[in-house]
Symmetry: C2
Subunit: 422 residues, 2 copies
């Protein structure tokens, strides 16, 4: 239908979206495929799970973001496989040919072979995950308020988070804060501030990717919030009733999984080498062996050419790779070769709570209020779309001064909500 080279981008996360923006209004045909109709600002997902923000505050319609340039088309579809030889992408109901492919389908959480644990301890990757976690956390307090059995009540007020990476740390801090502040006056038969928040980490320290001093600071800041931090500890079994760690059993109603990541299954369909987490091992120019027209970026890519270690699965890596992949495509179209990718590490930060955070700015390590302000600034700045930015800012300001969290809704899904109508 069109002689211009066709670039297909699968996944409109941080990586895919940056690639699409770079190719917008250029002399190519671009098709962006995603299984949701919105770009999700994942770093704030834990705030939806803990009732500080609404789903729409951290999600922007992909079509709206990319509507300006007519050379970009968006398709809402679930990709099933890629045929690199036929240069075809297969979705449930469509087959799409490409000249160049940028694969950015990311990762979900990994239960290390215990898939049955997911229903017991949901992870936090999608809006649906976040709303479900919010429901479970708030329902636990409602249940505790109603139940007379003391043991059941205690179990309902124990929150176990498995995994001491950024997500686990941020969730632990936020749950502690809700129970200490937001819900403090809401109940009559329980005292929400007696809730126990237990953070389990298999490694010897939290935030393993951070410098040791910040890991230690994170532990201290969490402990100040009343979170029980247990390092060198692994969950050996999960049941409805609780979590088994070694020979200790912690009875708890709400369990949250923040441990492992597992790359999207789409990567495997390329038929190129992948690592144990399913990430595609990419060349130093982000292409895959034998297929210069195929590039893999973000959480789905295993890029070791810079440090010997794979780059971390964080948004700055994905965004820089997205822009680089787009540049490579434009170069290859002009008959030039793809360039090698170099990640520019501006540092990373994780928030723990009100005035509590850690920031690794490489030459500068920040903790507490300063780190928190830096985190706030960066996240307001990068939040997609002016509208969301404004709304989020207002809600944060409100929450900061009132300790209130507005989005405390326990919503069920459509079917379960229905009663037999007349």
């Amino acid at each position: 239908m069109n002689s211009k080279p066709h670039v297909v981008i699968i996944g409109a996360g941080f990586g895919g979206l940056e690639a699409a923006k770079k190719l917008a209004c250029k002399d190519v045909r671009v098709t962006v495929i995603d299984r949701t109709n919105y770009h999700l600002f994942q770093p704030l997902l834990y705030q939806v799970a803990t009732a500080a923000l609404s789903p729409a505050d951290i999600a922007a319609p992909i079509r709206a973001i990319l509507s300006k340039c007519r050379n970009v088309e968006v398709i809402l579809a679930e990709v099933e496989s890629v045929d690199v030889d036929a240069k075809k992408v297969k979705t449930v109901d469509l087959q799409i040919d490409y000249d160049y492919l940028i694969l950015a389908t990311g990762a979900r959480h990994s239960y290390f072979g215990h898939g049955e644990w997911e229903k017991l301890a949901p992870g936090l990757k999608s809006l649906e995950d976040a709303v479900e976690l919010r429901r479970r956390i708030l329902m636990a307090f409602e249940y505790a308020e109603k139940i007379n059995d003391e043991k059941a009540r205690r179990a309902a007020m124990n929150f176990v988070i498995i995994g001491g990476g950024p997500t686990g740390v941020e969730l632990a801090g936020a749950i502690a804060e809700i129970s200490r502040h937001t819900l403090a006056r809401d109940f009559r038969h329980i005292n929400p501030s007696e809730a126990r928040v237990i953070l389990i980490e298999g490694d010897s320290r939290l935030l393993a990717a951070y410098p040791p001093d910040l890991s230690e600071s994170a532990r201290k800041q969490l402990t100040d919030l009343g979170v029980e931090v247990r390092t060198n500890t692994r969950a050996t079994n999960l049941t409805e009733a609780g979590v088994q760690i070694g020979d200790e059993f912690i009875p708890c109603r709400v369990k949250i999984w923040a441990a492992g990541n597992n790359a999207s299954f789409v990567g495997k369909t390329l038929g190129v080498p992948a690592d144990r987490a399913g990430r595609v091992i990419v060349n130093e120019d982000l292409t895959v062996p034998g297929h210069p027209e195929v590039q893999v970026i973000g959480d789905l890519a295993n890029f070791t050419h810079q440090t010997g270690e794979p780059l971390p699965g964080i948004s700055p890596v994905a965004m820089q790779q997205g822009r680089h992949a787009a540049r490579n495509v434009l170069a290859m179209i002009k008959g030039r070769k793809a360039k090698r990718f170099r990640y520019w590490d501006k540092g990373t930060m994780a928030t723990i709570g009100r005035n509590k955070a850690v920031a690794d700015l490489r030459f500068l390590h920040l903790s507490g209020r300063l780190a928190w302000l830096a985190w706030l600034f960066v996240h307001i700045l990068f939040l997609v779309g002016f509208r969301n930015r404004l709304l989020v800012f207002i809600q944060w300001a409100w929450a900061y001064f009132t300790f209130d969290k507005g989005a405390r809704l326990i919503t069920r899904n459509f079917q379960s909500e229905q009663r037999p109508p007349a």
Copy 2:
């Protein structure tokens, strides 16, 4: 456990919440029972269904609203029945004794004996309904963008709304506006402004409860927006493929039910006379025959003592009845008799779109921009909680100047979202 008289309020809608507020910090024990943990600002539900607002913008946690006074307790539970002789409320897992009962469980939509139609044409009473409608409306455009079959595409872009009351009118106007403005630039293969919005009303005019001149004005304003208004028309059958009206079949993917109401099933368990819609026929003091300690208010009550007609199922009636019922309880506790209720009609309004609305202020009938501004003012004013008010105002202002609607999220429920994890 406590010698003070115990007042149980079932339902924290407009009626129940007002009653609870009036009894807060008074010399009684109050228990509020609701099956959700939030008070829903129902008049704005259609704005969630049409992606203008987020669920949390129009819902406030009941506990937070009632947290100040320790004599008020909130229980999240689904009431199954009331035993008026034993003075007991039965929920799934609790039995609650009362000295005084205020029943305010409202209504759901009625399918006039066609319960099977609900899955095909959801109504709009709960947040879950709204999010489901939002999903269906947005998915219809996504489907139309993808499908090649011309007939299927047309069907996907036909939206049929059954029922020309305020909800139907507001939904029709809002869907027309999204397709004409919000989504205009988002697609490549379809032109969203070609969407047909068809509003079906069995009566000879829209907004039957309004003065004829405003019904006519509403029809004209809707027609200006491109809505096809069909009065004196009834849906004789609904299928996946479309809607049968008389001998015409309108193929359409999205069907919305805004026709009938059916009072909550809890009313029937009182064992007192009810009307055909299941509303409890109350005495002129809001009590039920033979049980002065039981009062029924809001959409669940049939109150005919003022005009001979039942009062309409709108929030002002519910709120005034809620406050009156609370006063009655306090009077009866002091040994006085319950007073007869009088509804003070301040008028009603319905919005149609940007600068489009009708307002019946009894002695003054407004249309267009003026009515719209009045509607805006009143709804911002009455929206529960300063926080929500501010957020809603900003989003409306934003939408007004940009035609953008921010909450365009297609979310699925938790289960259906999961893929088999590793």
